[in-house]
C-alpha cells in the first residue's frame, strides 16, 4: 500500500482538480473553457475511482494497474482535446474551429494507428500496451502542438493573460511528461524512479490553472512577445 505521503499528494491533487472547476464556475468562464473543465472533472472522477480500487485491492493488484493505464490513456485523449479547444479559442476570429477539430481527429487517428503498428510487432498484450504507448505518444504530440500554438500566440500583439497562462502551463506539463517517458525509454530501469514524480507533477497543472482562474482578471492582457526567451534583449 502507498505511504501517507502518496495519499496526501493524491488528496491534494483531487482537491486542486475540484478547485479548478469551482474557480472556473465562480469566474464565469466554465463554458468558455468547457473542455478544460471537463478534463478536470474527469480527473476528479478517475482519482476517486483509483482511490476506491487502491483501497480495496492494493497497489500491486492487476485491476488497479489496468484501471490506471486505461484511465490514463482516456485522460490524455481528453487533455489533447482540451489543447485543441485552446487552439479554437486563439483562432476564434478566423472561424476555423471546424477544420481544427477535423485536423485534431485525423491527427489522433494517425497517432493511434502509428502506436498500434509499433505495439502489434512487439507485444502479445496488445490492448494494455497500446493504452500505455498511446499516452506516451500523445504527450509528445501534445507537446509539439502546444509549441506550435505558443508560436502562434507569440505573433499576436495582445492576448488574454488567462489564455497565455493556460497554454504555458499545459506546455510545461506536456514537456515534463514527454521528457520523463523519453528518459524511461532510454533507461527502462529508471521508470520506477521517474514515475514517483508523476503524482507531484500531476498536481502542478491543476495548481497553475487554479491560480490562473483565481488570480488573473478576465480583462488582463499581455504582450506574449515580451515574455518569450527571444525578448531577452528587450
Amino acid at each position: 500500500m502507498p505511504g501517507s505521503a502518496s495519499y496526501a499528494i493524491l488528496f491534494l491533487g483531487t482537491l486542486l482538480e475540484a478547485l479548478v472547476v469551482v474557480c472556473a464556475i465562480r469566474r464565469k468562464v466554465f463554458r468558455k473553457y468547457f473542455v478544460l473543465n471537463l478534463y478536470m472533472a474527469l480527473c476528479l472522477l478517475v482519482s476517486w475511482g483509483r482511490h476506491y480500487i487502491l483501497a480495496r485491492e492494493g497497489l500491486a493488484s492487476l485491476n488497479y494497474r489496468y484501471f490506471y493505464f486505461y484511465t490514463d490513456a482516456l485522460l490524455t485523449i481528453v487533455l489533447y482535446f482540451s489543447l485543441i479547444s485552446l487552439y479554437v479559442s486563439v483562432f476564434e476570429e478566423m472561424k476555423v474551429g471546424r477544420y481544427l477539430r477535423l485536423g485534431a481527429v485525423l491527427l489522433l487517428a494517425g497517432t493511434s494507428w502509428f502506436t498500434y503498428a509499433v505495439v502489434s510487432q512487439s507485444s502479445h498484450k496488445i490492448l494494455t500496451y497500446f493504452a500505455f504507448e498511446l499516452s506516451q505518444n500523445l504527450y509528445f504530440v501534445g507537446l509539439v502542438l502546444t509549441y506550435v500554438l505558443w508560436a502562434a500566440v507569440l505573433k499576436m500583439r495582445q492576448t488574454p493573460a488567462l489564455l497565455v497562462q493556460l497554454v504555458l502551463s499545459l506546455g510545461i506539463y506536456f514537456s515534463f511528461f514527454a521528457a520523463c517517458y523519453a528518459l524511461s525509454n532510454l533507461h527502462p530501469t529508471l521508470y520506477s524512479r521517474v514515475s514517483v514524480l508523476f503524482p507531484v507533477v500531476g498536481c502542478l497543472l491543476p495548481l497553475s490553472w487554479v491560480y490562473a482562474f483565481w488570480r488573473v482578471p478576465n480583462e488582463a492582457r499581455l504582450s506574449p512577445a515580451r515574455l518569450a526567451m527571444a525578448g531577452v534583449s528587450r
Binding site: 505558443w150 493573460a161 510545461i172 506536456f174 514527454a178 521528457a179 532510454l186 515574455l227 518569450a228
Partner: protein, 133 residues
C-alpha cells in the same frame, strides 16, 4: 536514438514554456503597488534589487501559507536561480546580458514582495474575521 531526440526536444520545449510562464507571473504582479508596511519591512529600493530576493522569501515563509500561490512562488524561485546562474556565467563574457539579468532578478524580488503583501493582507482579513466571530 528517437527517445534521446524526444528527450532533448522535451527539455528545450520545457525551458521555452517555463521561462515565459514565470515571466507572465512576474508581469502580472508588476502593476501591484506595494503597501507602505511591506515596503518598510522589506526595505526595497526602486527598482527592486535581486540581492533582496532571499530575504523577502524568508519573510514570506514567516506568513501563514496560502496553497494557491505556493506553486507560483516556487516556480519564480527556480527562475530566479536560473537567471542568477546566467548572471554569474555572463559576468565576464556578455555585459549586456548581465544588465538584463540584474533587471530580471529585481523583478523576481518585486514579485516576492507582492506575494508577501498579499499574504499579509490575507492574514489580516483572517484575523479580522476571527475577532468578529
Amino acid at each position: 536514438m528517437i527517445a534521446a531526440l524526444i528527450l532533448g526536444c522535451s527539455i528545450v520545449f520545457f525551458l521555452q514554456f517555463f521561462v515565459p510562464y514565470c515571466r507572465s507571473l512576474i508581469a502580472a504582479s508588476s502593476n501591484h503597488i506595494l503597501s507602505p508596511e511591506v515596503r518598510d519591512v522589506t526595505g526595497l529600493t526602486t527598482p527592486a534589487s535581486g540581492e533582496d530576493f532571499h530575504r523577502v522569501i524568508q519573510l514570506l515563509h514567516l506568513c501563514p501559507d496560502r496553497p494557491e500561490d505556493r506553486g507560483e512562488i516556487r516556480a519564480v524561485g527556480i527562475y530566479f536561480e536560473m537567471v542568477d546562474f546566467l548572471k554569474t556565467v555572463s559576468r565576464s563574457i556578455a555585459p549586456s546580458v548581465r544588465t538584463w539579468t540584474e533587471r530580471e532578478l529585481g523583478r523576481c524580488t518585486y514579485f516576492a514582495a507582492v506575494a508577501l503583501d498579499r499574504r499579509v493582507a490575507f492574514s489580516r482579513d483572517l484575523l479580522a474575521q476571527q475577532i468578529e466571530a
